[in-house]
């Protein structure tokens, strides 16, 4: 399926509508591929018959294809970053990118295997976002410092988006057994990455309010994209409880109360952010 078409479909309400039975789930899987549903069985859908499955489940292939889109983006980004030479004189940044690159490659392989023939093809990415950035120093007039700054900003935005996007889909995977656990295991790895990249940039590893920590990029679309990555992180109401009112002192300050909880992002927002870097 064409990536843009997929992302468009992802933003429809269909995905948010839970399905109530195993039969209905497989009926909806047919929208993507019945065969894929069977291929996915070894990775957890086989548990669909047991008692825990009486509850509602989401559209697993669509959820995993959104995840795969983000992982494709990250995997190609880190691979190109390492190939670009921008990090060649920075042993610390290079080692960090190598470690993250290895994980993102593994996530792509894992999700492709889980999705089988339902897996979308890798999109064509443009990390210059239409010529606004040059993180890989493809233009000789770009300095290493500029490219390095952009490499770190993009990595931070991708990782913090990844954390939020997986979190936003977790509840749609209730009842999916190992698939849910795997999604959670990827989610926390993205959070480890995000923390390290943020700290490499001189920020804290956690997000305060909806502060981006990213300077004005001089391009409105890019600034809006960055704002979207962090919009909603200022939330202080958790499960109906305003955590700033739980007690007094520093642990309940606005800053600490927003740092202590990462916020989910819906599929539509994650798609919008990814689309900024997708050509076709």
């Amino acid at each position: 399926m064409n990536i843009i078409k997929f992302l468009d479909e992802f933003t429809t309400e269909k995905l948010q509508a839970p399905m109530s039975s195993r039969r209905e789930m497989f009926g909806q899987l047919g929208n993507i591929s019945k065969k894929a549903a069977m291929l996915a069985v070894p990775f957890g859908l086989a548990t669909a018959g047991n008692k825990a499955q009486a509850q509602e489940v989401g559209d697993v292939p669509a959820i995993f294809n959104l995840a795969l889109t983000l992982e494709y983006l990250e995997a190609e980004f880190y691979m190109k970053a390492l190939e670009s030479g921008v990090l060649s004189s920075n042993a610390k940044a290079r080692a960090i990118y190598e470690q993250i690159s290895q994980h993102e490659d593994a996530h792509v392989a894992f999700l492709k295997q889980a999705l089988g023939s339902a897996a979308i093809d890798k999109p064509t990415f443009d990390f210059t976002a239409g010529g606004n950035f040059d993180p890989f120093m493809e233009d000789t007039s770009t300095s290493v410092d500029t490219a390095y700054t952009q490499l770190l900003i993009l990595a931070q935005a991708f990782e913090d988006t990844g954390v939020r996007a997986y979190k936003g889909q977790a509840a749609n995977l209730i009842g999916q057994g190992n698939l849910l656990t795997a999604a959670l295991q990827i989610h926390s790895v993205e959070a480890r990455h995000a923390s390290e990249i943020r700290r490499l940039r001189g920020l804290e590893g956690w997000i305060t309010r909806n502060i981006t920590g990213i300077p004005d990029l001089g391009v409105q679309a890019a600034n809006e994209g960055v704002a979207l990555v962090y919009e909603g992180e200022q939330n202080t109401t958790q499960g109906g409880i305003d955590v700033t009112t739980l007690g007094s002192g520093n642990p309940f300050s606005l800053d600490a109360s927003t740092q202590a909880y990462d916020e989910p992002m819906n599929g539509e927002t994650a798609s919008t952010i990814a689309s900024l870097f997708i050509v076709s």
């Binding site: 994980h103 656990t181 739980l246």
Partner: protein, 244 residues
């Protein structure tokens, strides 16, 4: 859960705990009063050992389980901020550990409030005053504090990841997700502080993120109690997380 297994951590796994935990932190351990019972669902129906509190099943069980771990973390960082290492630490380490204290105290108090609101039967709410034993930690020692912090944060990540499948209510799974990623951010920061220039990949090292799958740890309650049990003095059980 497993079949007809009843694990008494006090009797059976302290030696193993000691070995495993020493590997992680290089610290000596105190004894533990924690019991972990796993009962056969359709046989003896035993939910408690000797009247000890049982965390429960499903959403209630996970809320109590997480509350226990957040109480442990909050108590640990409270001790850290009272200790001489923190008082004399450099600005970066001081700030990070204070943030971790703030976050964990916030998490702890949120679970207290959430459990009071959600678990209608008050006898099923984990007490808010669990007792801990940190005699194995030297709060004047940088490495003792940081290695214990790493062990607790990594254990927290693995605990939440492993407990996701026990949660029945979507909103609670999202809430657990909001917290676990912050624990993972903590773990990465502490790992990078400990390893410094000697291992730039430690924030998500191959010892904690499986190399060929890129997956983080996901621990069973038994594994979590193996790691954290030595610090927990108040006994409790988690006999049937999934629920019958």
């Amino acid at each position: 859960m497993g079949k007809k297994k009843s694990i008494d951590a006090t009797a059976q796994s302290v030696a193993r705990n000691r070995r495993n935990f020493l590997k992680v932190s290089g610290l000596a351990l105190a004894g533990t009063g924690l019991l972990l019972a796993s009962c056969d669902n359709d046989d003896d129906g035993m939910k408690q050992l000797g009247g000890v509190f049982d965390l429960g099943s499903g959403d209630t069980g996970v809320l109590n389980y997480a509350f226990a771990l957040e109480q442990l973390e909050a108590a640990f960082y409270t001790n850290v901020l009272d200790g001489s290492y923190w008082a004399g630490a450099n600005a970066e380490e001081k700030a990070i550990l204070e943030d971790l204290y703030n976050h964990e105290v916030n998490h702890r108090d949120w679970f207290k409030a959430a459990i009071d609101a959600i678990v209608t039967n008050s006898s099923q709410r984990l007490p808010a005053n669990l007792e801990f034993d940190f005699s194995s930690v030297d709060f004047s020692s940088r490495i003792s504090v940081l290695q214990t912090a790493q062990a607790l944060e990594d254990t927290g990540v693995g605990a939440y990841n492993g407990a996701g499948i026990y949660i029945k209510t979507p909103a609670y799974l999202t809430l657990a997700g909001k917290i676990v990623s912050v624990e993972a951010r903590h773990a990465a920061a502490i790992r990078s502080l400990i390893n410094g220039d000697s291992d730039f990949k430690a924030f998500a090292g191959d010892d904690i993120v499986t190399e060929d799958t890129g997956l983080d740890v996901a621990y069973t309650p038994a594994k979590v109690f193996e790691n954290a049990g030595p610090f927990i003095k108040t006994p409790f059980t988690y006999s049937d997380p999934m629920g019958s």
